[in-house]
């Protein structure tokens, strides 16, 4: 199964949705798509707008390949699911996002070998057929950030204690 997700962005992402629809029409493999707020709807995929978070996580775990836009939520979830990842950044010149920051994250994904970045949408079919290997040892440096934030919050709690 190929899981495609375009996030919660209010702009449409027809480039990816149309291409993925073509790929779905040509293959026997099941394609499930989260299509978000856009008006473009695929015809050859099973699709939905939004689903609860835990259902989405399950879908990613079951997928053979995850194809997503380069949004932080999607990439984070896909990496934690440890499935082969293909990122298609939304680009400003196609009016898919308000700026080009998704290119940055997509490049970072490629540089760190987390997955593959697709800039030319015609490369997507090949990438789905021969996906990059899943990045098995993914462990983000979350705990020091949470520890630091907790300490800062604790500090404010302390200040409140002083004033009361």
């Amino acid at each position: 199964m190929i899981y495609v997700t375009v996030g919660t962005m209010f702009l449409d992402f027809p480039r990816l949705i149309r291409k993925m629809d073509e790929i779905a029409a040509a293959t026997d493999e099941k394609v499930i798509m989260q299509k978000g707020m856009g008006s473009e709807t695929p015809t050859h995929c099973e699709w939905f707008d939004f689903r609860p978070y835990d259902e989405v996580v399950d879908l990613q775990r079951e997928a053979r390949v995850v194809v997503c836009h380069a949004g932080i939520g999607c990439v984070c979830d896909a990496l934690r699911a440890k499935r082969p990842l293909i990122v298609v950044p939304r680009q400003k010149r196609f009016n898919e996002h308000t700026n080009d920051h998704q290119l940055e994250l997509a490049r970072a994904v490629q540089e760190r070998d987390w997955g593959r970045m697709i800039l030319d949408i015609n490369d997507l079919e090949g990438a789905c057929r021969n996906p990059p290997p899943a990045y098995e040892n993914y462990s983000p440096a979350r705990s020091p950030l949470v520890a630091d934030l907790r300490q800062a919050v604790q500090f404010v709690a302390e200040l409140k204690g002083r004033r009361c």
């Binding site: 996030g7 919660t8 962005m9 209010f10 707008d49 939004f50 609860p52 978070y53 380069a70 949004g71 932080i72 939520g73 999607c74 990439v75 984070c76 979830d77 990496l79 920051h101 998704q102 940055e104 994250l105 490049r107 970072a108 760190r112 993914y138 462990s139 983000p140 440096a141 979350r142 705990s143 020091p144 950030l145 949470v146 520890a147 630091d148 934030l149 907790r150 300490q151 800062a152 919050v153 604790q154 500090f155 404010v156 709690a157 302390e158 200040l159 409140k160 204690g161 002083r162 004033r163 009361c164």
Partner: protein, 201 residues
């Protein structure tokens, strides 16, 4: 910047960021002051910013928190949330958000604001300054090498400014620091305790 509202406290000098250098563990032992549970306002937009916020919730365990978010299917399931329409780039909406936030802040009196972005942090910043609540900002993990618009403002205004990529900390300057990340695997160079001194520079 010194936490707003803490400036008058005799313990802290007026030097910028100096409040953070105080070892509050030692302070608690010597003064017997206890931490009070806080009311925390969590401001973020729906989507990835919300995903990040949910991953940071461990840091505020034991405190009361409420959300200030855009209205979307992902945010409607949050338990204690104030939702506003997503018309971020509309200046009229910005002013209306100021009004809504004023009401929310008067009602809930948050002691602290934490935001993971995006531009919803800006009206919250204005109201937080009026109410004297300190603000922490965690730059979105999607900004890898270039600062975001909100980030550029929050870099100067937030009491604590985190970035999630080591490359980006260098781009911003000394007030931004990398203490770990929800996405990148690079471990921070300094332990949490040392980061407080980090801010003094």
């Amino acid at each position: 910047m010194i936490p707003w509202g803490a400036v008058q406290s005799p313990v802290y000098s007026n030097e910028r960021c100096n409040a953070w250098s105080i070892d509050w563990n030692t302070m608690r032992e010597s003064t017997g002051i206890e931490c009070r549970p806080l009311t925390i306002c969590l401001a973020c937009s729906h989507g990835g910013h919300l995903t990040e916020m949910l991953q940071l919730l461990d840091a505020i365990e034991g405190h009361t928190c409420f959300y200030f978010c855009y209205d979307a299917s992902t945010t409607r399931s949050l338990s204690d949330a104030y939702l506003v329409p997503n018309m971020a780039r509309n200046p009229v909406e910005f002013v209306r958000n100021l009004g809504r936030l004023y009401t929310v802040f008067r009602l809930r009196k948050p002691d602290l604001v934490i935001s993971t972005g995006a531009e919803i942090a800006l009206p919250v910043l204005v109201i937080a300054m009026i109410f004297g609540a300190p603000m922490f900002y965690v730059e979105c993990g999607a900004q890898v090498v270039s600062p975001s618009f909100t980030g550029r403002i929050m870099y100067w205004m937030a009491n604590r400014f985190y970035v999630q990529w080591p490359e980006l900390a260098k781009r911003y300057g000394p007030r931004a620091f990398y203490a770990g990340s929800l996405i990148d695997e690079t471990m921070p160079e300094t332990a949490p305790q040392q980061i407080q001194e980090h801010l003094l520079r």
